[in-house]
Symmetry: C2
Subunit: 320 residues, 2 copies
């Protein structure tokens, strides 16, 4: 989803960091869709970077910037250990080794999408930039390993890597999914469409969010940031906003009135509550902010971004 939005944004902008884009290659395990017309060549490739030799081929055009977003997500990585390690660890390593063995001094900027799942309990209420990585899922473990590899390969001059730990993306467009985090988006997205949404946790649950638009902004900023400014620390927690579910709902009320709020049905789910309890609640993303990474300043802004980007600026269920 973030990859698609990134491609759309690149097509719209036509440039990156003030330089015109000459070529974009989109690779995915399913046929990638490039829905926006672009002023530059766009190739779409069906490829699995976790297969030997594929990375080398994908890199044959020697792109200046590589966005590495490919991943088996949290739920699947937990359910299928082999597949998670194959894609999230081997895939990342094969990509980095593809760069290492490309020769001719090729050392592109690599933007690696990491995740706040690299952090696990026990956690302070507000997590600083020096927090140790103690993942409590296989997905978080694989992302933490990716960060270590990226940092080591950068230190050795093989590439110029930046890893960005994305907040939970909210409001995620599309259909409700079964991810434990799904309700954070559902309770905004469905009511704005006049549909009921289930809230499985208490209103005082706090979490860390940024919009899909902000996530794309992080990726673009990471693509063009001066690597020297990062020093040795190549992986950063991205900014976001920390809100409770109650604050999410209050923002929905301010933006769209009482009607959508009435469509949120409270249906406590012990399993979801237990999973969520171990998640980070808030960060002090000082280092990233000082480097110019910017997210929304309020959850109202996140809802407005969703309405603008996904609902063409209109709230289907209009404020009464």
């Amino acid at each position: 989803m973030v990859g698609r939005k990134l491609a759309e944004r690149l097509a719209r902008d036509g440039s990156l960091g003030g330089e015109p884009i000459s070529h974009l290659a989109l690779a995915d395990v399913v046929e990638p869709k490039q829905t926006m017309p672009a002023a530059f060549d766009v190739d779409t490739v069906v490829a699995d970077v976790a297969e030997a030799g594929v990375a080398r081929e994908l890199l044959s055009g020697r792109p200046d910037i590589v966005f590495h977003l490919a991943a088996v997500l949290s739920g699947e990585a937990e359910a299928d250990l082999e597949q998670g390690y194959r894609v999230n660890l081997d895939g990342t390593r094969l990509l980095l080794d593809g760069i290492r063995t490309a020769g001719g001094g090729y050392a592109p900027r690599v933007v690696f999408a990491s995740s706040i799942a690299v952090f696990g309990t026990p956690l302070p209420d507000v997590i600083g930039d020096d927090q140790a990585l103690t993942p409590r899922t296989s997905y978080g473990t694989q992302k933490a390993i990716g960060e270590l590899l990226l940092t080591d390969y950068t230190r050795r001059g093989i590439l110029d890597g930046i890893g960005i730990r994305l907040p939970t993306i909210c409001v995620r467009p599309g259909q409700p999914n079964r991810a434990a985090s799904g309700f954070f988006s559902s309770i905004i997205r469905e009511p704005l469409n006049g549909q009921e949404a289930v809230l499985p946790v208490p209103d005082d649950v706090r979490h860390w969010h940024a919009s899909p638009r902000a996530a794309v902004g992080f990726l673009l900023h990471a693509a063009t940031l001066d690597g020297e400014a990062l020093g040795d620390r190549r992986c950063l927690t991205m900014p976001g906003i920390s809100v409770t579910v109650a604050e999410q709902i209050a923002a929905l009320r301010r933006v769209a009135g009482e009607d959508p709020v009435r469509l949120i049905r409270r249906e406590p789910d012990e399993t979801v509550m237990r999973i969520i309890a171990s998640w980070p609640r808030s960060f002090d993303a000082r280092h990233a902010r000082s480097l110019g990474f910017a997210a929304e300043a309020s959850f109202d802004e996140i809802i407005h971004a969703h309405i603008e980007d996904e609902l063409r600026g209109r709230i289907p269920l209009e404020k009464a």
Copy 2:
């Protein structure tokens, strides 16, 4: 070296955690030596765990306890990126996956030798148990990845892992080597044998040490410790003592008099100084100590351990 000393200790003790040892298999890429007679069967195997299928075979006897000490060391891992990742990352993963696929509920205790090289600058003067892992070498990166894998596989019930971050081992027996850390041992070992030793750094350089005997003690304690007591944190910084080079030399004087001290020749080496400057100087290894891991209380004790274990209790160059 630590592996050999561990095997000798097991042979001498004949038991581990109060249980008699029935069988010991020693695997190494070169023919392992078992010099001590043992009351149990000892197999020696020449094997490279980083080769596919080897781990499975090594584990065919389903040992209750697996000590994983195999590693390409710091200097070689830095000089040969592929070899370092192959042995230190792939080897570890193949071993863990060999256990995962062994079937029949096999989930042994795995003791993984990690290293304080998982820590890199910037570092506080005293490093606590919550310090983030920010390795500045490929060796440290590979050890940090090993810790993450061990922790994840333990969380998933595949094995019962404990990772121990060993201090710099001092006094290391044998010949002087070219490792940047070699002088910490050299300035004790050579003078005690009536030979000159070169000190390439100023006397105020501080570092973190434990004896080979203490390192073997850590491994044995880790082998039999109740895993539940560790909680989610499966990798621990081992205790040690933090001393300056001046304090090392003062201890040598107390133990063996002025003659050996006179054999230490100061020959500053900018390269060694620069490498050492980024190394940890001291730890508060509170968690490990609370779990019963114990090291020497003074550098005098470390020298005495060397004299007892390597010099048959006699100082060749006797105190005047």
